[in-house]
Symmetry: C2
Subunit: 317 residues, 2 copies
Amino acid sequence: MTPPIAVGLSAVIVAADGRAPYALATQHADGAAGLPHGRFDPKGHRTFELGLREWVRAQTGFEPGYVEQLYTFGDLGRELPQAELGDAPSGARLISVGYLGLTPERTDISAFDAVWRDWYRHFPWEDHRAGRPALIDQTLAPALRAWAARGGRQDATRLARLQLAFGLDGQPWVEERTLERYELLYEAGLATEANRERDRKPFPLPVSALGEPMISDHRRILATAIGRLRGKIKYRPVVFELMPERFTLLELQKVVESLLGLSLHKQNFRRSLDRSGLLVGLGQTTQATGGRPAELFRFRREALREGNVSGVQTPRS
Amino acid sequence: MTPPIAVGLSAVIVAADGRAPYALATQHADGAAGLPHGRFDPKGHRTFELGLREWVRAQTGFEPGYVEQLYTFGDLGRELPQAELGDAPSGARLISVGYLGLTPERTDISAFDAVWRDWYRHFPWEDHRAGRPALIDQTLAPALRAWAARGGRQDATRLARLQLAFGLDGQPWVEERTLERYELLYEAGLATEANRERDRKPFPLPVSALGEPMISDHRRILATAIGRLRGKIKYRPVVFELMPERFTLLELQKVVESLLGLSLHKQNFRRSLDRSGLLVGLGQTTQATGGRPAELFRFRREALREGNVSGVQTPRS
DNA sequence: CCACTTTATGCTCAAGATGAGCACAAGCAG
DNA sequence: CTGCTTGTGCTCATCTTGAGCATAAAGTGG
């Protein structure tokens, strides 16, 4: 007799302002954070996406706009612990389909047990806007190298993976590799979730370095979302799904920077936008910025219909 | 009582030579082609990927190398018809996880009911190596435009989608949009599969224009694979998974061209490879090419460990 | 009003990448 | 030897990119 299969739908709903990118999160009893999620209903849900929207709405009162599928996780041992299964038949095999959603404003969701959380709380090593975080080389790298050294024959492979993922030993930091980095930490037992599931003691490193865990495999899904979004803004004009109707170039840059976790070269950033034809100047200015008033721009949605589908360039500073 | 869920695993296993790209396909009773596939076993399969490998092996005697997940389809109405379900509980809701696999050689699979099929038999409009196929503008476009015109209020949207997808009215042809094109044909009732499922008569256009259908949603999965691969070879060195150990630059170019369905500028193609550092010249030459002997090259696998992970440039001719 | 800070924006310059194509090399077939 | 076929080197104009200087236009404290 094969066990039944249950499909979980989880959503990473992203919003951003100049300071940080946020993911919509639910608060759980023990203080743990989770993503809005629920079970796919084979009877009631015609498509995954419709099911997902329903769950997000129910749990956060929020109606997501742009949505795309991320990945489907099915490996044994990393699914939802039994207790959180809700109405799933016990003993069911759990599969997890992750989605990414984008929204221009952090809607008020206070009526629900939901909050907008700065995603770097879960991934402190991912934010390089103020330079490479010290915790990578001071805390994570030593622990990871020790793990690699324990690998015996896999040694070289592990070390090479670390170098590429975390930009060690002269390798450049590649911001899209968020999932690879998280998976390495997980494999090395440095993700709290890994120890929870293997029934081991937590690793003796502070949360400030390891990041806050999330329930189930939600941090993995969040990592997937971050990596995907970081890659995608470069070749599709998706950042604009996160922007208000009118914005200044610096506001746009700050949002891009917060997503990438990098700081960009200002003049070149605006030059590339100029040439992209994605924006229209509104002729108005705002003085809210502190210095010289900045011109307001609007995303030319028509550009999408014109086949002008490149994203924004990201000239590192 | 909610119906049970069954998960189908399907694989697009790709090989290529100078003439065409091939997908590993199984032959079905009525002559219809399908992808190697089978049900995910919640008990026996620790991960999707392991399950998939098992099914491919069983159905084709073939052991895939490089494998990556493509997409998970779950919409009602496009899954496997009941008859092909095999051992699934009847009335089950079917979910389909597609995978892409790459292999350097077309292994002998004649002992099984499997063949390597030129994927353009299923997508004749996708091969632009000898110029834009006449069937697009002569046969498909008129039928698609008629469908768009029937759209009432969606008219403009439909037309814009067509223009972008098929490069109509001055829009450029973008080779990665394989799935978009197939989905448009499906929506317009021009994919044989659509009529099969809606119980309608087939569209009065020849297979030579509409492409050969496949069982279940396999053509959709194949389209996803083609689009993904076409995009990926540009930013990851994945073509080399399709090449033999030693090859000439023209052989490589022909493979890339066959995948993209485009012809490339020869001198610039080789220049970009020169600079990429992905290849090593072996100092040997082969005369198998017909003209002047060509130098043989090998992929520098070490490049992967060096973070040199760009793909190959594709300078159109 | 002035010096000074802050943000906005224009512009230059060198280096590199890209698109297009000419020219010559080195086999083979007659 | 001639002509055909593929392979390979190289040029040249044009764009793109990375880096940074310089000026504009607000606000602030004297």
